[in-house]
Symmetry: C2
Subunit: 66 residues, 2 copies
DNA sequence: ACTTTAAGTAAAATATATTTTACACAATGG
DNA sequence: CCATTGTGTAAAATATATTTTACTTAAAGT
């Protein structure tokens, strides 16, 4: 599962901590997902995409092995 | 997390077992998600939506408490 | 130099999703 | 009747996501 969280955060100019707060998870969770260490739940993925005003699939993309 | 899996299956006329096979999970997993017993991973949610030729958010919707 | 902010990381604990095996029940077609 | 298909369910095991606490480093500002 690839994602464009870093770019979207840059556009909004918000930190991992602030994104975490907005979607009600910890900063470590955002960091891990942003770095591709694991993929989020569907609920969290939708919430993150919403912060960026995008559809879930415009932020998250399947990759080989998913 | 609400979903329209049952309706989409009906349109395609496929069983829970066939959907499960197409997205590479067990029939019980599809059954549980379809009945709202828990919400899927982002990866699985995208795969399911793809079977129906839809965007993830057209099949899955957040609800109170998500 | 000092402090603050942002990001990366890690180990242990907890929560949640998914699998496996198995049984039950209704509907249907032979 | 009998076998088959589709669905609901359940308990135990395993996998994965998320939290908590805490430490490190780099960059920026004072």
């Amino acid at each position: 599962m690839k994602n464009t969280i870093r770019v979207e955060r840059a556009i909004l100019n918000i930190s991992q901590a602030e994104l975490a707060e907005r979607v009600q998870v910890t900063r470590q969770t955002i960091n891990a997902i942003e770095l591709g260490k694991y993929s989020p739940s569907a609920v969290l993925a939708i919430k993150i995409a919403r912060v960026f005003g995008k559809k879930m699939e415009d932020v998250f993309e399947l990759e080989e092995g998913d």
